[in-house]
């Protein structure tokens, strides 16, 4: 148990725990698990810009989710700083494939070569962080949900729109992995 607290959790522990957030939020207040709505709530709170999409009572609709998001930050900070830093044990094939793209440093949560402030001025850093971020925000808003809202909440409640969205997530992810990344890193 102590080992699992300081290291990574196996998939058969982590998956069911993630799934339990759906009933937990429903029981807590009839709320549907989904993180990307927070991007909309934050826009509505900070800069609605007179747009109809952001004209609603964000406190009433979204305060619970923003509080949940604050918790994610606290939990992420605690978990990220409590355990000893370790390399994520990705498969040898993935390491080999990424090495071909020029990634040498496998420590931490994301490759340091791309995910640092200086790299934002390089093409690959800009595309991975800024363009990637834009697409996450635009895509989840357009699709009306992300991995939590569609892939977990939506699929678990057997919603066809969520199934379409999840196929889309994978189509986009595969396209970026096999076409975009090799172009960026060549």
């Amino acid at each position: 148990m102590t080992a699992s607290v300081s290291g990574s959790w196996p998939w058969y522990i982590a998956g069911p725990i993630i799934g339990l957030f759906v009933p937990a939020l429903l029981i807590a207040g009839n709320r549907v698990f989904g993180v990307s709505s927070n991007l909309r709530h934050l826009c509505s709170a900070i800069a609605p810009g007179g747009l109809e999409y952001f004209r609603y009572d964000w406190k009433r609709e979204g305060l619970w989710n923003l509080v949940f998001l604050l918790g994610i930050l606290l939990g992420g900070f605690w978990a990220g700083h409590s355990g000893a830093g370790y390399d994520i044990a990705i498969s040898a094939e993935t390491k080999a494939a990424l090495a071909k793209l020029g990634i040498r440093d496998f420590s931490g949560m994301a490759p340091h070569e791309i995910f640092n402030w200086h790299a934002l001025l390089t093409l690959r850093g800009f595309v991975c962080v800024i363009v990637g971020g834009l697409l996450v925000g635009f895509g989840t808003a357009y699709a009306g949900g992300c991995t939590s809202g569609h892939a977990v909440s939506g699929l678990a409640s057997f919603q066809l729109p969520s199934l379409i969205a999840v196929f889309g997530f994978f189509a986009g992810g595969l396209a970026a992995t096999y076409f975009l990344l090799p172009l960026l890193f060549s």
């Binding site: 998939w11 982590a14 799934g19 992420g76 949560m109 697409l135 808003a141 699709a143 977990v152 678990a156």
Partner: protein
Amino acid sequence: MIMATTETITTRTPTNATAKSALAIYLLLGIAFGIVLTKSEVLSWFRIQEMFRFQSFRMYGIIGTAVATAALSLAIIKRFHWKALSGEVISIPAKTLGSGTRYAVGGVLFGIGWALTGACPGPLFALVANGVSVMLAAVIAALAGTWIYGLLRQRLPH
């Protein structure tokens, strides 16, 4: 035909007393979720790459068991007519399909962003907290992306 479907924001009004204590529950659940995201390593760019390259079962195991657990929980809630702490009948609002375009196109665009950043919205924030400070720029970009959607929404097929 271009028609923007009105986003259904569910109006649910808990009473004031339950609202306050419920916020504390959401905070605790959020903290737990932040820990799970980190310990499950789903916020790792490397893990996401491994998933999209089909080189490990791990991410599929996590998502699959998460969906199965959530579906089973929903079946139990339905079968035994469990209610929310506020006393409300528990329900998940159905998503409107429309032409399905928004789910397909929006889904693909998010998928590209997911592979590039290695993060979906929860991990995007959790990574900043984990110490990958440049992800703050990705969070701001994601807010800009959502804002741009708000700007273009009327002109996009849904």
